[in-house]
Symmetry: C2
Subunit: 110 residues, 2 copies
């Protein structure tokens, strides 16, 4: 989970064994596996939270919004009428709440 | 190229043989090939336009910002100090200009 969530359920997918700073640098086989992981987690987020939509984003370089310089993908649930928060704009999330959300999403991973 | 660009060089990657409306529905092998195509085109955009950063995004459902309902990925170059435009916020781009940009990027695809 992103500790500075832009929406309820803002989730990150991070390749475990990667030294790439961003998508441009990543090895093809890691990238192919990563996108399948994104699909899997995105489906679990949808099953757990039932959002109206899901935004998927990935940033390359500080000018694009990247703040943590290893490759990661954002899965951001969206609801009708709820504007997207700015990253860290709402401050840090409650960690117990994030843990509960993570458990809820993980239970839906198939 | 996106005809309603959010920045100079806003490029789309679209799987040719796909009926998926979004990432959640896509076949694993199409998705794996797609992300490698995104990397290839993103590198070409960088080589052609030399932006300070690159944002990659993909929308699932109208509530997330999706307006065209087949799977596609946005590659949006970013420059320091230049805010991100709203989709269609700046109106439709000049088609000759887009064609020239597309040629410039295509010439860098390796």
């Amino acid at each position: 989970m992103d500790v500075f969530p832009q929406s309820h359920g803002h989730t990150l997918v991070i390749p475990k064994h990667s030294r790439a700073r961003n998508l441009l640098e990543e090895e093809p086989q890691v990238l192919s596996a990563l996108i399948l992981g994104v699909q899997r987690v995105a489906r679990a987020v949808r099953a757990a939270l039932n959002p109206d939509g899901l935004m998927i984003s990935q940033f390359n370089g500080a000018a694009s919004g990247q703040t943590v310089f290893h490759l990661h993908v954002h899965i951001i649930p969206r609801w009708e009428g709820v504007p997207l928060g700015r990253h860290a704009g709402g401050g840090m999330a409650d960690l117990d709440e994030l843990k509960a959300l993570a458990d809820q999403i993980a239970s839906k991973i198939s």
